[in-house]
């Protein structure tokens, strides 16, 4: 979740969000848990390190989330959406593993009561290595969580220090092992491009990650967000700036190592067995994001909650915590599809390009220079086009 929220229109007084495109799409839930033990230097996410924020406490915050779940069901029903069981559920943060399994369970039951779970539902919880004990994993498995996403970032202690991550990288192996024994799927989150991270350091990190038997890895290049401690450190020269060219090389290293270890590339920053939840975002499925600052998408309506937990809670008491909404028109919807689906290995149906009025003559130069390919009626990026998706999208839309 990004630091700043977009500007949107106010939430409708009617408390209704009209179905507009295709309300038969799959339905997903994201739950944002805005607490951390410690704020890392690079982080600009919506998270807070205090256990108590004003009159709000970490130990009872799940109640607010449940209030929003109640409200969401009412809004969807009144707006005329058909009742849909959840295909995926994702607990993100912050550090969701700071919630007790009991808090998680209460949220899950509320969602199950209101919406129901599909039999093959994917339920993921993000955890930091320092807060994911074997006992905690056991409790999670018992309540039905079936996937763990571990924020590892790097296996190089020096890089972890730059990022101000406090965990011990040696703990990751045992956690993954415990998770596997409990039948939990796992994913590792990695970050490349931290100041002073060498190519060798990154190579070691991806090699360790690939050897751990996990079925899924995400690797993001570090973005220095304005206002973070890291941004200040770079500005005053304490740390060197990030280097895009080096990041490109690190991407290639990661890709090579992961693919060699049975983790095929499927999206700009993801390898392995595709996460169903991620796929929902990229295929413009419907999801409700619960919690402060969380974003939702329902049938061409994108809206987002008030960012600060206190404001969120206060607004929730008035029926809806939404801070802003935007109504995506048909053309914008198509542009969003291009922007998102071209990031994936599947690519985008050529029919969408035709609907956007993008001419063959605009597409062909990219096919000829080897950055795009046409496969199964879809237009997709090639290995060499992956790192230029944003540029290609811009050119397809403007050339």
């Amino acid at each position: 979740m990004s630091a700043s929220l977009p500007l949107g229109l106010p939430w409708p007084v009617s408390n209704l969000i009209p179905p507009r495109f295709d309300e038969s799409k799959s339905f997903h839930a994201y739950v944002h848990i805005p607490f951390c033990e410690f704020r890392c230097g690079y982080c600009d996410f919506n998270t807070y390190t205090a256990k108590e924020i004003g009159g709000l406490s970490q130990s009872s915050f799940h109640e607010s989330l449940i209030t929003e779940i109640d409200a969401s069901a009412k809004i969807l029903k009144n707006s005329g959406y058909p009742k849909r069981s959840l295909s995926t559920l994702f607990f993100g943060g912050g550090t969701p593993s700071l919630f007790t399994s009991n808090q998680i369970e209460q949220i899950m039951s509320s969602l199950r009561d209101h919406y129901g779970f599909l039999p093959d539902i994917e339920i993921t919880l993000e955890a930091n290595p320092e807060s994911a004990s074997p006992q905690y994993l056991e409790q999670l498995a018992a309540i039905g969580v079936n996937r763990i996403s571990l924020g590892v970032q790097s296996f190089d202690p020096k890089v972890l220090a730059t990022l101000e991550r406090v965990h011990d990288p040696d703990k990751v192996g045992p956690i993954l092992k415990a998770a596997a024994e409990l039948g939990l799927e796992s994913s590792l989150d990695l970050i490349y491009g931290a100041p002073k991270e060498s190519l060798d350091s990154w190579k070691t990190t991806v090699e360790i990650a690939a050897s751990m038997g996990t079925k899924h890895v995400s690797a993001y290049s570090l973005i220095v967000e304005p206002g973070t401690k890291l941004a200040r450190q770079i500005k005053v020269g304490e740390l060197p700036p990030t280097d895009d060219d080096l990041d490109a090389e690190k991407f290639e290293i990661a890709d090579e190592v992961f693919q060699a270890n049975g983790l095929p590339w499927y999206e700009v920053a993801n390898w392995g067995k595709p996460s169903k939840h991620n796929h929902a975002y990229w295929s413009s499925a419907d999801w409700w994001g619960f919690g402060p600052g969380a974003h939702s998408h329902l049938s061409g309506n994108r809206f987002w909650n008030t960012k600060h937990p206190l404001g969120y809670q206060k607004q929730l008491a008035n029926g809806s915590p939404v801070a802003g909404i935007e109504y995506i028109d048909a053309r914008t919807n198509l542009e969003e599809r291009l922007m998102l689906e071209l990031r994936t290995s599947t690519g985008i149906p050529q029919t969408v390009l035709a609907e956007l009025g993008i001419l063959e003559s605009t597409i062909m130069p990219f096919v000829l220079d080897g950055s795009l390919k046409i496969e199964n009626e879809n237009l997709a990026v090639t290995a060499s086009g992956r790192l230029f998706v944003d540029r290609i999208v811009l050119q397809l839309l403007t050339n």
């Binding site: 979740m1 973005i223 969380a294 994108r302 540029r391 403007t398």
Partner: protein
């Protein structure tokens, strides 16, 4: 002390003995407009309530930049020794680009107030205009302004003025336009010293046009000085250069708003409205007479203003081309010196090659086009007019470097100017260095006073159109001033330097430079473009070439990665907004072959420092 005139004299019935026509010669910032404001207040034609600063400067640009572009004439009533006079103050532009207009204004007067800042002394442009006034036999009234300033060196500069125009330093009036001190004495002095006009009231009418402005409501307003005879409203008038006849719809004086009168008589200054919509039909310098009783000999001094500097003006958005044409057509109604013709550039699309009197004129026109007509424009680097002769003796007039002929060149001639530079003596060395690097030849050097020097140089115009003035200002800490006049054409050892992106020539970046400077120019422009062109998906070689010889090269490295790492639920709106912004940004890019070039690169690459030419001299 003189009181305000109790009653103003009636125009068209004023005896020439009671008329005084004068102008004010001053450098920019020497306080002419402020002094004029005080005169308007003192003579009572603008009351304190209506007063605003720089009352006579009509265009926004004039007021903002503190310069007068178009001249005006105001009739001021004044009384001295119980006799009432009508003083006509003719405002003159203060900039070198408008010398021709200045000379017409001077020709309309019998006297000139030489206004000099008491803290700065006389400047080169003022000196040039002073010489012009002396050539016109005007009575010069030396005045030091801003005597209220702590830095004023009144005695020193009074002496300097006395040396220049003769007489004693005590003849020099001391005034402050700001506080009003000395302004009444100045008005008295004008009455006493400026000769009355001596036209023949009974001769056929002859009026000299010294300014012609376009008003969107009234059409062309023509400012004239009656030399002989008289003009009355509803009369048919004739332009002596074209023999064109117009109905005189309105005649009057400015005081300081237009006041309709029955007519204008010999010696008077006023305005005419004929319903003509184009200033080119009422040209500055022309003589107006009547159809019924036409004069036979026109007044001397009519000349077509000649454009000295050319630049290509292109709309950033190609679909604005018709709007640009319309805007230029409209501007031409009020600016007879603006010339333009359609031009196409492989890099920039459709636009116009425009000719200007000088750089300031170029800036004012582009600024007006953008401001008054809401256009976004690219102006290519200014160029002068070359005369090129090929070995086969075909001749070319080159106003655009990209038109420089291919093949063996016999001779290239370039415009030369005679430049006058005034400066404190401490900077003589640096000025000489500057002129030398600009291919200048010294004509002479003389001391104006104890510590001020006048240097005269012969310089190629091309060497001063870019940033000479800025360099002069910065090298003399603001004290140096410049004026120049055309001095014909001379052969020069000149070559065309082309610029190639990915091996393709880009016409808009071509320039004509001296052979010895080609290498330095090539290196400079390639390294600048390397900074200005964003990285693309492929490497972009940038080369400078003379003919087929590459003289400098650089390259923009290929970008390795252009994709946002993370894109989940909350990132989508943000990312889409970024995409919208990038789409807007792309509109400010010009595709040159496969290469995206930012629009401002077309000026920045050719300017010699970081500031673009439009941010220059104020």
């Amino acid at each position: 002390m003189s009181p305000r005139a109790r009653s103003a004299l009636e125009p068209s019935l004023t005896d020439q003995d009671q008329i005084r026509n004068f102008c004010i010669i001053a450098h920019i910032d020497h306080g002419k407009s402020t002094l004029a404001d005080r005169m308007l207040q003192l003579t009572g034609i603008v009351d304190d309530r209506q007063m605003r600063a720089q009352y006579l400067d009509r265009m926004d640009i004039e007021r903002e930049r503190g310069i007068t572009i178009k001249s005006q004439a105001v009739r001021l009533p004044w009384e001295l020794d119980n006799k009432t006079f009508a003083l006509n103050m003719i405002d003159t532009p203060g900039h070198v680009d408008f010398t021709y207009e200045v000379s017409r204004s001077l020709a309309a007067c019998e006297g000139a107030v030489l206004l000099v800042d008491a803290a700065q002394g006389i400047e080169a442009q003022t000196l040039a205009n002073l010489y012009l006034a002396m050539e016109n036999d005007l009575e010069i009234i030396p005045v030091l302004n801003k005597i209220d300033l702590p830095a004023a060196q009144t005695e020193k500069y009074a002496e300097e003025l006395a040396n220049l125009i003769g007489g004693s330093p005590d003849d020099c009036l001391r005034v402050s336009g700001k506080t009003g001190v000395g302004v009444e004495e100045l008005l008295d002095r004008i009455v006493q010293r400026v000769p009355a006009p001596t036209g023949d009231i009974n001769a056929p009418a002859r009026a000299m046009i010294f300014d012609s402005v376009y008003d969107s409501y009234r059409g062309v307003v023509t400012y004239v000085r009656m030399i002989d005879g008289r003009l009355s409203s509803r009369e048919q008038i004739q332009m002596m250069s074209t023999r064109a006849v117009h109905e005189l719809l309105e005649i009057g004086v400015i005081s300081p708003e237009p006041v309709v009168t029955k007519g204008l008589a010999a010696g008077e200054v006023g305005y005419l409205i004929t319903g003509v919509k184009d200033v080119r039909l009422s040209k500055v310098g022309d003589t107006v007479t009547t159809k019924d009783k036409p004069a036979t000999v026109s007044l001397k001094g009519y000349a077509e203003p000649k454009p000295m500097v050319f630049s290509g003006i292109y709309p950033i958005d190609g679909s604005d081309y018709p709007n640009l044409r319309e805007a230029l057509d409209k501007l031409r109604l009020s600016d007879a010196s603006l010339v333009y013709e359609p031009e196409t550039s492989a890099a920039l699309g459709f636009g116009f090659r425009c000719g200007f009197l000088g750089l300031l004129h170029l800036e004012i026109i582009t600024e007006r086009l953008e401001r008054e007509f809401n256009l976004s424009l690219i102006a290519t680097a200014p160029s002068v007019v070359y005369q090129v002769t090929r070995e086969d003796n075909t001749e070319f007039i080159v106003t655009n470097p990209s038109e420089f002929p291919e093949g063996k060149i016999k001779v290239v001639k370039e415009p030369i100017v005679k430049a006058t530079i005034l400066s404190p003596k401490d900077y003589v060395g640096t000025i000489m260095d500057l002129c030398q690097t600009r291919r200048g030849t010294m004509i002479d050097m003389q001391y104006l006073g104890e510590d001020r020097v006048q240097l005269r140089y012969q310089l190629p115009l091309a060497e001063i159109v870019f940033d000479f003035f800025d360099q002069l200002k910065s090298k003399t800490q603001g004290y140096g001033s410049l004026d120049y006049e055309e001095a014909g054409y001379l052969p020069g050892d000149l070559v065309k330097v082309d610029l190639l992106l990915q091996g393709e020539k880009v016409d808009a970046f071509s320039s004509i430079v001296h052979k010895d400077k080609a290498y330095g120019h090539g290196t400079k422009i390639t390294s600048k473009l390397r900074e200005l062109i964003p990285r693309q998906q492929f490497e972009v070689p940038i080369q400078a070439a003379v003919g087929s010889r590459i003289i400098a090269r650089e390259s923009v490295r290929a970008v390795r990665k252009d994709v946002l790492a993370k894109c989940y639920g909350g990132d989508i709106s943000r990312k889409r907004k970024l995409l919208e912004k990038q789409k807007e940004g792309k509109k400010r890019m010009k595709m040159v072959g496969r290469v995206e070039v930012p629009q401002d690169a077309f000026i920045k690459a050719l300017s010699s420092d970081e500031t673009s030419s439009t941010e220059k001299k104020k």
